[in-house]
């Protein structure tokens, strides 16, 4: 049986269902450092750069990383050079990638979502815009908009009014009811939801017993959170009509298979790329094998099989 790995997120056609998670693969750096010619053969089916904000952000004070049991805690703090530098310096280079590019934006103020979306709307280099609603919001004293349905609705509405691009909203799992937030995003005009962002956590230095991270708390990712992510994808994909991008701990082909079965139309790999920057290649090949073994001919035939 020939397995067809092609999948679609609305108008975005992807050669296979595995993309990268924002903030975990910097193609411009990786192409310099790694031997592979990533612009000739890009292993992910779409490219999502690190989240950008209106103004540049230095990010949180180091240390920013700590490994936990089967997980990684980080507090990068959305370090980025700002949307103007992104448009000016990065976009022209990213346009050379052989896959769709999905910009990720976040707002420190609610209206930033509208402003950023407007700035990206005319850019042909971009196939879609992902809204990261987990940015500390200044009006909310650092609380993220994405932590409640109303805040999410506001941010998404502003972006929706400012762009006709395919609009993805990336959900945080740190809420009582992620389905409610997903519904608000779709209600406000999101074309697609991606989930999950990292789970709130903290680590102490084993010796000094003080918080390790400069920012005290951080976000947990990796295999440790896979069950949390899988549940969220399973519930959200049944509750909203928009396609879902599933992520959170995807490390093996079996993981990708399960996220698709849980209801995702595509999956993203984050932390696993730190284990091996080209792990995606093995995941895509392995996914085809697992689908073949199970007699599943297409991603559409797999997506939601667990429901």
């Amino acid at each position: 049986m020939a397995v067809n790995l092609k999948t679609a997120l609305g108008p975005l056609e992807l050669d296979h269902p595995v993309i990268n998670a924002s903030g975990t693969f910097d193609v411009l750096e990786a192409d310099t450092v790694l031997e592979e010619d990533l612009f000739a053969r890009f292993p992910f089916a779409a490219y999502v750069p690190k989240t950008v904000t209106l103004a540049p952000r230095a990010g949180n004070a180091p240390p920013r990383l700590y490994e936990t049991s089967a997980g990684l805690l980080n507090s990068i703090g959305l370090a980025n050079r700002g949307i103007e530098a992104f448009i000016r310096d990065d976009l022209p280079r990213l346009a050379l990638l052989p896959v769709p590019v999905i910009a990720s934006v976040a707002g420190e103020a609610t209206e930033d979502y509208g402003v950023c979306a407007a700035m990206l709307d005319g850019r042909d280099e971009l196939a879609a815009i992902e809204l990261n609603v987990s940015c500390p919001n200044v009006e909310l004293h650092g609380r993220a908009l994405g932590l409640d349905p109303a805040g999410t609705h506001r941010a998404v509405s502003l972006a929706r009014e400012s762009t006709s691009k395919f609009l993805i909203v990336k959900l945080t799992p740190n809420v009582t009811d992620i389905v409610e937030v997903a519904a608000a995003a779709v209600d406000a005009g999101a074309d697609c939801v991606s989930l999950i962002n990292t789970v709130h956590g903290m680590v102490l230095d084993p010796w000094s017993l003080k918080p390790v991270l400069g920012n005290v708390t951080g976000g947990l990712s990796g295999p440790a959170i896979k069950p949390v992510a899988l549940r969220a994808v399973f519930l959200v994909s049944q509750a909203v009509t928009a396609p879902v991008i599933g992520m959170g701990g995807v490390t093996t082909a079996q993981d990708a298979l399960e996220f698709l079965a849980a209801g995702a139309s595509a999956v993203a790999m984050g932390t696993a790329s730190f284990r091996d920057p080209l792990a995606v290649t093995g995941v895509v090949a392995g996914l085809a094998e697992l689908m073949e073994e199970r007699g599943i001919g297409s991603v559409a035939g797999l997506s939601g099989a667990a429901h």
Partner: protein
């Protein structure tokens, strides 16, 4: 600096030797490409090959020494990642990404003062060999917590060595910052001495201050937690004079003037 332009690759390589060096463990990996390409001060991201998820991520490990096809690591097992690597047995396979980062700039002319603290001596062995090969005068100032760590000083060949321990159980008692200023006196008509250092943060801070005071150049190899090693995660930053700098691709070796020292 002349390192960091060589493309990195992912390798699976076999452990050919494992031996204790006092409190540390030295592993020799069969890794001809890295042995051929790596520059002193560069590092690898290394973990046991295979699907086990705890430890999850590779750990940054300096290229400690090179012996024809073998690349050697020197490991201080301080946590679960380093412990897992230190327990690798002959025949086990490691997954290794490298060579990574910018190594030491060895183009200077003056006498080299190589300063190591604890496991920070790891990259300094290959460096010392390379400096000697270039005909530079090398003096090593190596500090350790105790006698068992100080065994690593015995690895250093052919250079003058000042050995110190904090507990006085080997060499002189004290910290490397104490004898260091005395090693930096510039001889009439000769180029200024230059520092190459790797060790705990507090030691590197002292080195930076002493270098500034004595007006000599110092290159230091910085230790931070890393997730990717290739510039993707922004997790490894340290403060520079203006902005944060990524240790993995802008370092790990920095000129002390390019960093911010509180």
């Amino acid at each position: 600096m002349d390192a960091g332009l060589i493309p990195a690759k992912l390798f699976e390589c076999q452990v050919a030797e494992s031996r204790p060096v006092g409190a540390y463990r030295q592993l020799a990996l069969v890794a001809p490409e890295i042995a051929y390409l790596a520059h002193p001060g560069q590092f690898l991201m290394a973990r046991l090959a295979g699907p086990a998820l705890d430890p999850l991520l590779p750990r940054p490990m300096c290229v400690h020494d090179i012996d024809s096809d073998l690349v050697k690591l020197l490991i201080d097992p301080v946590g679960k990642g380093t412990a897992a690597l230190a327990e690798a047995e002959v025949g086990d396979r490691l997954s290794v990404l490298g060579p990574l980062g910018r190594g030491f700039d060895m183009e200077g002319e003056g006498p080299a003062v190589v300063v190591g603290g604890g496991i920070g001596v790891s990259p300094l062995l290959l460096l010392t060999r390379a400096l000697l090969q270039r005909g530079r005068e090398v003096r090593c100032v190596l500090g350790f917590r105790n006698r068992s760590q100080a065994v690593a000083a015995g690895l250093f060949p052919g250079a003058a060595i000042d050995l110190l321990t904090e507990d006085g159980s080997a060499g002189r008692t004290g910290l490397v910052s104490e004898p260091l200023p005395g090693c930096l006196v510039r001889e009439e008509g000769n180029p200024a001495p230059e520092i190459f250092a790797c060790g705990p943060d507090a030691m590197l801070k002292a080195v930076a201050r002493i270098a500034a005071d004595c007006g000599v150049r110092a290159q230091v190899s910085m230790d931070t937690h890393m997730a990717c090693g290739i510039g993707s995660c922004q997790g490894c930053v340290i403060p520079g004079p203006e902005a944060y700098r990524k240790t993995c691709i802008e370092g790990p070796v920095f000129d002390t003037r390019d960093l911010k020292w509180q």
